[in-house]
Symmetry: D2
Subunit: 476 residues, 4 copies
């Protein structure tokens, strides 16, 4: 059990990174730094594939980037002209390793490495079609489906760009993809733009593609632009070119929870600062759920920004409510411990001075099962907080997500079983306020220039939903 | 090279932890959690020793607590009545492992495990005396000297408490110690009280001793009290008893830099909140070094509290200036990278939204060589900050520390070679203000009830200084 | 570089093992012991897959069985009704891991694990056909081709036995295979019977399939019989049944070098003792290449048996000529060492007492490049041997092998470039005798009841040879 | 549990190696190869210390040489002028690591590394004396006692040679030692010469000291001579010089079991070939315990040489009776296995062809508990042996060893509880013959020029025996 799991959170399932350089050089270290910056998007496994004049080498395993990629392994990847990398959140078990990405097809007449963030909604149908035409799937992963759709298209055209475009016409659901072929990198984002994807340029002229801008920063690349929903961008020896055939063919539906929790605050997505969106979430909460209190504190890390926003709007001073132990990793779990909730304090210790004798506004990003929230409220009260007013920067989770996160309609979503008042009582708060769904689309900006997916809160989906649902989505 | 080293900081050299339980039980997991909470005091090596009815077992190695102590190793330590643990910061090199603590004397007629935070100032003299009387030292570590002083005293009395008391009469300098004997734990703090040490009680009646209160919290122990400068506290089957023979025999001189940087903000030391001391540092800075600015940001993690204090006093809004990558550990260093300063950004990325177009007050805890500060100022300016006003929550380091940190009079202390104005120019700041030394003793509280060591800033030492100075202090 | 590589040998490419038990139990440990017994057939990577009521779990990695399969990993495989395992010799490089077996298809409607020893001669053609009908290959391995041929056949029939039979009709070349399906194990051997395969029964009624009988012994299974060339044997809840449709449809061509070098001497293959075949090789050599000598020694391990045979026939006493260091594994190679030939002595040290002042007959199994033989002769002469008469239990390697070993027509086969007399001079021997090709088929027995492949010595192949030859065979 | 432990053997406790080179160079790889050749003398832990112009670096840990010393660690030891190394057999448990050698005193005014093979008989007395004069022991190991005796002598003279000589006058029992000081290596062997020690010279002029000549061979050193019982040999910039003050002051008592089992057959000890001694043991057995049989087989590895001797004398053909699995290491033990005796077959498989239908003479080196012998006899009978005549190349173990092996008077020595006839029945043999004690001293040679220790067989000790006996000898 990972320490990270002590804190009851929903999880993003992936982060992608790619680099194209005309010159042969040591690219694996750059992918390393890029993945290191994207580590918050997935901590279970990671991988890097390089393309050295058509020779593909790769390494992937379970573990953090800093654990998997030792100097020796980075060294063994050698120099190359292109590289892609991936971090993944996944379910536990020995087969995790088999699901690590990149998915590399290393056949001598068909070389291709694919990294993917998202979730297809028509994977079952595509798989059936491909199987009918002779394909043999070795796993149940969407990424293998995507690889095969492209590979099949390649059989017809031998033109990898056409093959990707053809695939984009077939894949439904959420996907931010980077394909590495023999002679080019191709990045693509689904028509709804569920997951972020952007690219930048390094001082040496290399191009870098990443899930978030913070990964561009990590390799000193300057941001060029977000890849548009439906866009395909090609990076090869001729430079960069874009195909927008699929742009503007569907309702834009960027995952709003990227702004609320998944993304790093120092990233910008589709032009809007994640940090700013969280400040605004705090302000909206202060407006709609004011509290008569002495201090506003946030649950680290993601509640901090919104707490500052709440403080600014309400005028209640901001304070540091908790210290989070920053030494993450594999952690011994005492055989005698009663439950993992008891161990929240190992990661999160309240600052007595901030909360003792105070009426506290506690800002967090979400409540999934409620157990962690209850424990955190208790920690504050034990530290002398007179009242604890919980403010959540999202509406309650009510519906499953089919687009690449682990928000599921399972019985452990507290809001599916309890009213807000009941939740308040369960977690022991003096008051409880969730963000109004009406504010969701205004989090990034008031200009309302973009559309967002809010399906996990509202149940309104912008695609067909998958034939096979629930747990099965995560099988294999 | 560790990632942590990217950020140019001074280092605490140790954290100690001990637990005494009348009942035989699995204590190693508790020591694990205690050390995990103290990990900020030393990341190079760690160790745990247990005493199971007189059988001593131990394990120590280089690495983080979560890396060294796998489930198998924790399991192999088994059940015991007592245990001690240690985290250590140390110089690099293969002999690091030999210097890991606890120092265990596992001889059949003399069993003893010692953990130590601090630095003796008369180690050379003590070693010479002991050698004259037949002792053979296997290392140059102070902790071996301490073990031997106690062991020699034991030869005369066979009473471990008398032996420790006798040792306290001989040891000069800084030491917070826990000794584990066959039948008891003995904690002791030097007469000046340079390093913190406190104890608490678990719900099951076990006693816990730790460098900081945050480690008591981690094992759900309630704080009982700080151990006094010069005090020896014994934990055995008769309960707890104190010897204060050496109390009040010397000027109290608690390391003020514990409050400024070393300790965790959620800890209290000698009754004063570390978090509060940092808030106050920010307030003092705001008073003495005001700035005409739009936002106050702190350098994570230790600059954050003071930045809030600066904001509160000045009325300038507080903002999140940087996101720190929380995935720590072994990290690949690209062979081609120009310098480690270039890689600050991998750990620390500015939040554009907070600083762009703003006049920024940047609060940090110290400037050692100045290279990291210069890089951080540049990151802010590159992100669009119009002005950067650097405020440091300590005076400039000017003098070596002989009490257990690595502040040395080496040529790399920028303040030894440059004026404040020169430093400001070197780091590229628009203004620069250090904390006035006059405020140092008021950081924890205005009541001035305690005395503090400020020698690294003022050059005023409360003990004789060691015969052998400079680099040699850190040899072996 | 592995120590094993110091000794210049040809390599078998695989060993396979499978177990079918009606009762759910801990089968992975049994596979472990089976693979441990087959470790001589491949030391580069290994893997185990288990089938627990249709849930497939597997683990594979580079390394020896005892290195890869820690208690934790064996434990994580849990209980199951069936399991298969594999050891593999392979070329070095990071992609080795990708080529480890079993090849597991873990798709929810098509679960199948395949282990394979051998080499197809029509892999290229099969791959092309399958690609035309829509298959997408992810590697260039023969085993993936085999999996796909069976999978495609499954699409038509849904009957795994028919699918395997259909595959056997299409696959040319050498293959000893075990397939694990949802509800059965299926073992199959190519029509020529190039590679060994047999099965046995455990005291608890489980069935065990293995490359060699020594692996049956390791799990206390009693030998039932060899699987016939062309035979398919099915193990499921109905017991064991055989299909012989493809038996006796081709010339039997068991690899004679299994008897000479690859197999363990305690194994029997097709009813004949490997140990006995080597004794006979020594006898044939003594008959055809007598020597006027004082002692016969063998190069450990495989030359020992033949040396005893030579001694028995010739009447020259047998002696222990060398001690082989038995501590195998990863070994540091001094950066300053002149060449790996210089390091033969680290593995092999002559016994002075046996050879000093003697005329020595030295029996070895083969000469590949000649460098090791030269070094060994020199070791004996340095130890005082007056004469060294080298006797080789095989004819010279002259032709590539297409059936699962790494004997290649590359420039490093000394016999392709030099006459026997030249080789004698190159290796510094006083005389040199190779086994006459005429004796090859009589090694296992005089009854001549079986046919053998001797193509690497004679150039007579019993199948078409592959379209793509030489180095490319080992690509991927 | 180690695989090696399956086979019920007595254990040597150590091997030592040292190298002195005038030129600074990479000596750690040479020590590595030397220890690799001595690995049979101890498989539990190993260590290397180097002396680079007075800077001592070392690394030691539990595990085989090839496991502990990765390229990185060898590299970190760097270049040096001198180095020593050690392999150790030890009891299991977490404190093993603390007992690994070299014992390094790395104090700045007293640097010294000690490696030791043997066991003191007056360790308790020496320890008490040293403790009275102020020494503080950190472990109960003899090697620490030796280090301290030398260190104390150094206080008086500052002349390391005098200090070693002084120590030799005080140490009783068995010891072959190498001391590394700042400016020289000093080798010494106890007055009885219980354990072997020799030195040789490399082509580059470096001197090499080792427990056995096979380690000289491994680094291409030519044997110079054995170090005499009681001799001290110094290696420094002046070359080699010897002190024989203690030579010929005690009865020579070289451990005869080194010839029978401990040493490698390719080594010579005190001028006599180990291989030859084993051949002779077989001959003596054939003379005194003839058998009417068809084949003679040996239990690998150490029974092989004697089986050949038995065959030569008796005229009964020698055959290969067993194949031993050569892949050693950490091995999974099935939770369900009945007993470790059942697993003998995993390491040792009979060769059916050799023994089926035959009357077999089985030659082994010893019987400790009898369980393994019983299992081996059963394996042969199950393989069809008509009769099994067991011949042991040593007399029965009846008395504890105080000189560095783990032969103890514990209840598990079968010969302490049973007559030879009973043992024969217990192990299921048709006849059983042990070597006559009268032949022991004639094993190495008929010239009887040397004296041997045979105490474990005869109870005749050539020194006082230790005050504390039995299990306590092996404590901590």
């Amino acid at each position: 059990m990972k320490m990270a799991d002590f804190l009851d959170k929903v999880h993003e399932e992936c982060g992608v990174f790619g680099i194209y350089s005309n010159e042969r050089s040591f690219l694996a270290p750059k992918v390393y730094y890029g993945l290191y910056a994207l580590q918050h998007r997935g901590q279970e496994s990671c991988g890097i594939a390089v393309n050295d004049s058509g020779v593909f080498r790769y390494y992937k395993d379970t573990g953090l980037v800093s654990e998997v990629f030792t100097n020796d392994i980075i060294g063994s990847l050698g120099q190359s002209q292109m590289a892609v990398g991936h971090v993944r959140y996944g379910t536990t078990g020995s087969s995790d390793r088999a699901n690590a990405q990149p998915i590399v097809i290393n056949h001598n007449i068909n070389k291709m490495a694919t990294v993917h963030n998202g979730n297809l909604t028509n994977a079952v149908q595509l798989r059936e079609q491909l199987e009918k035409s002779g394909a043999i799937f070795q796993t149940t992963s969407d990424t293998e489906v995507i690889s095969f759709v492209v590979s099949h298209a390649l059989l017809e055209s031998e033109d990898s760009e056409k093959a990707v475009l053809s695939a984009l016409g077939k894949l439904d659901g959420a996907y931010s993809l980077i394909f590495m072929f023999r002679d080019k990198l191709v990045a693509a984002r689904d028509r709804h733009g569920y997951r972020p994807l952007c690219y930048g340029k390094c001082p040496d002229g290399s191009f870098v593609i990443a899930s978030e801008t913070c990964a561009l920063d990590a390799v000193d690349a300057s941001f060029v632009r977000d890849i548009l929903p439906g866009e395909m961008v090609v990076f090869d020896s001729d430079g960069v070119r874009s195909d927008k055939s699929f742009c503007f063919t569907a309702k834009e539906a960027m995952c709003i929870f990227e702004y609320i929790y998944f993304a790093r605050p120092d990233s910008k997505i589709d032009g809007y600062s994640v940090h700013n969106a969280r400040l605004r979430a705090g302000e909206f909460l202060a407006k709609e759920h004011p509290a008569d209190a002495d201090v506003v504190v946030g649950v680290p890390d993601s509640g901090i920004d919104a707490a500052i926003g709440y403080s600014r709007y309400s005028g209640i001073p901001y304070g540091i409510g908790f210290i989070k132990n920053k030494y993450i990793g594999r952690t011994f779990i005492s055989p005698g411990q009663k439950s993992r909730e008891d161990k929240v304090r190992i990661k999160l210790n309240p600052v007595f001075q901030t909360v003792s004798g105070k009426r506290v506004v506690l800002v967090d990003d979400s409540i999934v099962r409620g157990t962690t929230s209850a424990r955190i409220v208790k920690l504050l009260k034990d530290a002398g907080a007179l009242e604890v007013h919980v403010r959540i920067t999202a509406p309650p989770f009510m519906h499953p997500c089919y687009y690449g996160t682990d928000i599921d309609s399972r019985e452990n979503l507290i809001a599916c079983k309890h009213t807000v008042d009941e939740i308040r009582d369960i977690i022991g708060a003096d008051s409880l306020g969730f963000l109004n769904t009406g504010f969701l689309s205004r989090l990034p900006s008031d200009d309302m220039a973009h559309g967002y997916c809010t399906a996990c809160f509202t149940g309104v989906y912008d695609t067909d939903i998958p034939l096979v649902r629930g747990k099965d989505r995560f099988e294999s």
